[in-house]
Amino acid sequence: MKKILFLDTIPDKTIILKEDEELLVVGLITTGWSGIRNLIINAKGRGSHCQCIFFILGTDSSSFDAKIQAIHSAPKTQIKARIRSALTDKSSCSVEGAWSIEKNASGADTYFSHHTLLLSQGASAKTAPFLEIKTDDVKAGHSASVGKVDEDALFYLLSRGLSEQQARAMMVQGFFETELAAIDDEEIKNKIREAVTTFLAQTKN
């Protein structure tokens, strides 16, 4: 039975996964913090799976500074994290993903991604997806990107009759929507969509 953990922040916390445990962590994060948060996920149990999906919506001068450590310390474990952050005003987001696959963790499957949309001059992002792999029978990948709303796509939407505001909103929604597919819980999905709408309403001017 898959457990779901629904959070409103990246917590200072150590999560230890038992044998065959399946965990989905969803974070809808709109309030920043000072200092660095440390989240550790240790897949100690054989065959345990953990998936983390974090949505970060930054306004004002809030700062989201976190280190996420994922440790594969048993065979056939899976730890995947996907982070999407949209930042306006002077907000900043810095995530260090420290992924390690220990020697005994053959068959490990790991993935880390952090994509950031910078929506205003003054917003900034730092991303450091680190990967340490000590055995060969693994699947590992990471990806990261930082950028603004794609001008070509925006132009396309404008040419279809949308106002610039509508078009931008649609693209930010689309940016987050891609990760919603992995969440089964409709209630959580709707909460995230609502939060994105509120966020867009705040930032429209």
Binding site: K126, F130, L131, I133, A140, S143, A144, K148
Partner: protein, 472 residues
């Protein structure tokens, strides 16, 4: 589908390891005692007949070196014993232009490496680094006519003092890091290149490096200045003989790429398994300039090398492509750094690493975009291939973005050789070793393809050599 003839040929060229690990007896005219102090630095400077400002520069750098701590990150450097290194050796008194004047035993060493015949035809000038000093320097006449300067760094300080003093130490000051400071204090040899405005050097310039005295460090210093609208391609290649105790190689390479100029710097290294290779390489690119580092690292005990590009003015472009092969007992800690300091700058970093027999390869990179550097585009790709379960592969990329109007992308993959791929190739009649070699070559090919043809052949041969006996 038959295996292409070329591939077959490559697979059979596994060669013989001993060809790359021989040593030649040489007579050194002057060798400093082991260890380092201010007197040795004065002696080096005196031997070289240097101007006072260079001696002051060296002594200042020595102070900086003493004051700096060893890096606490990256590879294990605890095996370096600074007191057990000879900081200066010089095989003969003057560097020679004609091949006939080069001493016989030194020539023999080069012949074993296959340098003169093959490279002479292809390359315009040859600077051969043998025991800390350029001993052989030839420059095609038409280049000299165009005003291109290609000399050993030691000669350049005498022949072109103003040009030298204007740029030396400006891209990498001694205070940059401990090993840059060490190099600044004891540097010897290396290449100095100046390409005047609008001159395009058609053929790659090349220098071959060798370490040949036991416990002798190589501290060469290379300075390349490409003036406005010019272009040059410099190739450095290394094959070191195997020795019993550790050697330290700590070079500094500074490149200045002026407005609209282009510089490509290609490295192929195959240090023996006891060499610490700690190199600082950095280029400064001005308006619409283009800098390209192509870096292939095989061998050595520890390599720490992160070619960097500072994109300082509008429209500058940077590219770093690297290939690392870490075998038993080796740690290749390589990568690249790009600083975007101006608008409309772009960069690409592509890194491929292979780890085998417990080797460890690391990608360590940084992309930094400062505020106001608008319309910056950068792409980072790092791929790792692991050949067995004892090996290790690490990726440490950092992206620090302070500007909104940018497009930054990064991706990385790690893979092992798949059973399916091996099975398919073996069913076509290849042995397991041949199949694995073919896969490794295919993985490395996008980088190797960028090399000048003869180097590509040499690197393919070295890769095949590395793969010999790796399976079963």
């Amino acid at each position: 589908m038959a295996i292409p003839q070329k591939t077959k040929k490559m697979l059979t060229q596994t060669g013989d390891n001993s060809a790359f690990s021989f040593r030649t007896k040489t007579k050194s005219f002057f060798a400093s005692q082991k260890g380092l102090n201010a007197d040795i630095i004065r002696e080096i400077s005196r031997q070289k007949n240097e101007p006072q400002w260079m001696l002051d520069f060296r002594l200042h750098a020595y102070e900086v070196f003493l004051g700096k701590e060893m890096p606490r990150w990256g590879a294990d450097l605890s095996g370096i014993d600074f007191d057990n290194i000879r900081y200066y050796v010089r095989p003969q008194d003057k560097s020679k232009r004609s091949w006939d004047d080069v001493p016989k035993e030194i020539k023999d060493t080069f012949d074993k490496l296959g340098i003169p015949e093959a490279e002479k035809k292809f390359l315009a000038g040859t600077g051969a680094q043998f025991e800390s000093e350029m001993i052989y320097h030839s420059l095609a006449e038409n280049l000299a006519k165009q005003g291109v300067i290609f000399e050993s760094t030691d000669d350049a300080i005498k022949n072109h003092p103003e040009l030298f003093k204007k740029y030396f130490g400006t891209v990498i000051p001694p205070g940059d890091n401990k090993f840059a400071a060490l190099n600044s204090a004891v540097w010897s040899g290396g290449s100095f290149i100046y390409v005047p405005k609008g001159v395009h050097v058609e053929l790659p310039l090349q220098a071959y490096f060798r370490i040949n005295t036991e416990n002798m460090g190589q501290f060469e210093r290379t300075l390349i200045i490409a003036d406005e609208g010019s272009s040059v391609h410099y190739v450095e290649g290394c094959t070191a003989p195997t020795y019993s105790s550790d050697s330290l190689h700590s070079a500094v390479v500074e490149i200045i790429v002026k407005k609209g100029a282009r510089v490509q710097y290609t490295t192929i290294q195959n240090w023996s398994g006891n060499v610490y290779n700690l190199v600082t390489k950095r280029a400064m690119a001005y308006e619409n300039a283009e800098m390209f580092w192509l870096d292939c690292n095989l061998g050595s005990k520890v390599t720490m090398k992160y070619p960097s590009i500072i994109l300082r003015e509008r429209g500058a472009k940077g590219e770093i492509q690297s290939l690392a092969f870490a075998s038993k007992g080796q740690h290749q800690d390589a990568g690249g750094k790009v600083m975007h300091l101006a608008p409309d700058t772009s960069s690409t970093i592509i890194s491929k690493s292979i780890s085998k027999n417990g080797g460890r390869s690391t990608y360590r990179g940084l992309v930094k975009v400062i505020k106001g550097a608008k319309n910056v585009k950068t792409r980072v790709v790092c791929d790792a291939l692991m050949l067995d379960k004892d090996s290790r592969s690490d990726t440490y990329p950092t992206m620090d973005i302070k500007e909104e109007d940018v497009a930054i992308a990064h991706e990385a993959t790690v893979a092992s050789i798949g059973e399916d791929e091996l099975f398919y190739l073996m069913s076509r009649g290849l042995s397991e070793e041949q199949a694995a070699t073919l896969i490794v070559n295919g993985f490395a090919n996008p980088i190797i393809r960028k090399l000048p043809m003869e180097y590509a052949v040499e690197l393919n041969r070295l890769l095949a050599l590395e793969m010999t006996g790796s399976v079963g």
